[in-house]
Amino acid sequence: MTCHEKASSTKINIKQPSIKVGIIGNPNVGKSALFNKVTKGKAWVGNWPGVTVEKKVGKINLGEVNVEIVDLPGIYGLTAHSQDEVIARKFLLEEKPEIVIQVVNAVNLERNLYLTIQLLEMGLKLTIALNMVDLAEKEGVEIDINGLMNELKVPVIPVVAIKEVGINQLTKTVIEQIDKPTPSFKLDYGVEIEEAIEKIRKIIDSSMKKLDLRIDSRWLAIRLLEEDNDIVERLKNLGLEYIIRESRRIREELEARFNKSIEVLMIEKRYHYILSLSKKYIKRKTTKGTLTTFTYKLDKVLTHPIMGLMIFISTLYLLFKLSFDIATPLTELIETFFSNNVYNFFKTLFLPEIVSSLLSDAVLNGVGIVLIFIPNLLFLFLGISFLEDTGYLARVAFLFDKWMNKVGLSGRAVIPLLIGFGCNVPAIMSTRTLGTDRDRGLAVSMIPFISCSARLPIYLLFTLAFFKESQIMVILSMYLLGVVIAIFTAILFNKLLFKRQSVGYVMDMPPYLTPSAMNILIKSWERVKSFLIRAGTIIVSLMVVIWVLSVTGPEGYLGAEALSNPELLSRGWIAFFSKLLQPLFEPFNWDWRIIASLIFGFIAKEVVVSSLAVLYGAGEQGLSTVLLSSFTPLTAYSLMAFTLLYTPCMATAATIKTEIGLRYTLLIVSYQLIIAYTVTYAILLIGGSLT
């Protein structure tokens, strides 16, 4: 393209309105791989309004047309009873995309066709992307694509998303579809049901003026016959109760005749149709394709109760080793770079002390804390995304489902919980995959009690000083305490807050696939970025608040040296509040300096140690000796317990807020404070009576 041509086509683009295209499909069909390839990695990630489900939107130019591509959640059908289905349905009805691309798994085509039928009945302009055709070939699956296209009257484009095969053909077809009329699709449900549909349809048509939806009245009739809650709600809101009543009557008549649920009957009809399509257009050369047999054999080992568990524990070990051992040098690099170069930058600028301290000690420090998470988070997410994309995580969920059920969760929740042992932040973020808000909330309530690696320095310091012989046992007891309280919390929250039981889990076990490196990188980077931007801003703001409360006091500004001068610190607001709270902690025998360190510990649990060092006027080396003189083994143990339980660190709290919401975050923090106090009190009581 010459410079001139480029300029003129750009002009055309500005004048063209953009068209909306939705990408939909079953879970595990390679939808995100296709989305990434079509949008060339340029996508914006946000949330669907009102819910914490990820929404990805990309904008591209296809020829001369601006296209906005929306990635819809993976669903099996459109009956709107799970949150994902509701979101997809809402988008299709309200945002009215020009074209919908359904990504279909060629290996397992039949199951995908159920969604196809529902999309066609909705009267949408559909383009089917037949993905993974290379694997289907290996599996011995032969699909008569032309036959299928002719019968469904929908373009079917074979693609291999990961290898970028067929993408151009797909986009070209989508553009061509824009100007073509929407083909009509009608599935024959049998005489009696068709009669009922017609009756309802006539009622709807007669009030069509009130209905703004550009939706097929036949589809509406079918939905009403199936008693679709969402449609019923919408009609109620439009004041069309009589349609609902009439259709209910018609439905009840029909059900009396068949003695069976109409919905069930209709689903059966759809599957009869799918079977006929399968007989006509899908041929399997063998019942044991290479892919499924390979997966089946691997699963025999990986889901074996003993071997499977051992392999999983080893995999977890490897994951942690990868993310911590390899990330740690990078973290240290960032830390030293920050403290040597960046940190002092503002100090050299001849700014007034208060400003330079605000910028370096608060803002930069906060930014530094956020950045320090990146190497760990990145490697953890790389590992998890890798395991996720291979399909292994579904097997892990299977292995743990029995145990997770006892706490009211499904096997899927085990991954976030175990990640929490490394760091609570990515653990909270991985609860996204848990599907329902209830499961997420429950898992999130447990995670802060899991001893992350940041608590280890505190355990080490105290056990070294007070429990030298039984160091490991004491540290393990901390981990155990955390787990026990987490389980207790889950059971409690389950009874009080989430009264509805988990719906019972049904989980797809996709065949094992070699994951695409690009996908993994994109996924991991998206997660890290989301942490950086959303949690990062909260963390930096909180740092500023803490800074203000440290360098100012009832007398006014104390000077920036307050941060390293115990005398000055003792005149600041934090010390003030700590002294106020001291009576509360009388039974623990903690003076205000410990309370203040705990307040600072909100920043990051390791900070408790460094704060203690500053407040007690000892360097970190001499801290153990100082502690020995101010603590007994019992009070030391109780302090360790309190640090474990009292609050999530700032980063975790910020992540909970961005993933769930502010109210829940506050609930958890208050709950933790109460639990920490109660448990520590109990420890002191029990310990006191034993000695």
């Binding site: 290479t290 071997m307 051992m310 051992d325």
Partner: protein, 133 residues
């Protein structure tokens, strides 16, 4: 596969023995072997035990289909830990590598994970075609 059967058995036994030595050393609080040849921590020892059992299971059940899966997983795990550990040691020895203590650095990298991992890699390359059936 029959030709390499003995090789598989030995590889598995090596992992298991190494893991057991770690266990003995830990319980009895003594040092028996060379630190290069013993897993670095308990988690690694568990990992070794798992890999060893997988290899030996593959050997003993070589007539059933399961053994191929077992072997495949064992191969992947041994190579994975080799890679992770090697990268780990390279990174932590970077300072050493830059100085004259190069020999010490190389000495540190030649560890049991690397040795057994390379042997597994050879095995994998040899069995590449047959494994995938």
């Amino acid at each position: 596969m029959k030709s390499v059967a003995g090789y598989i058995l030995l590889l598995g036994k090596a992992y298991i023995v190494s893991s057991l030595i770690y266990l003995i050393e830990y319980i009895a609080k003594i040092e028996i072997g060379i630190s290069q040849l013993i897993p670095v921590d308990a988690g690694m020892a568990f990992y070794f035990m798992t890999v060893g059992v997988l290899y030996d299971y593959a050997y003993f059940r070589s007539r059933e289909g399961v053994s191929k899966a077992s072997l495949f997983i064992a191969l992947i795990m041994s190579i994975a830990i080799m890679l992770v550990q090697t990268v780990n040691f390279v990174i932590s020895s970077t300072e050493l590598l830059l100085s004259s203590a190069r020999v010490e650095a190389i000495y540190n990298i030649i560890r049991i994970e690397t040795i057994l991992g390379l042997l597994s890699l050879l095995l994998l390359l040899k069995l590449r075609k047959t494994i995938y059936e």
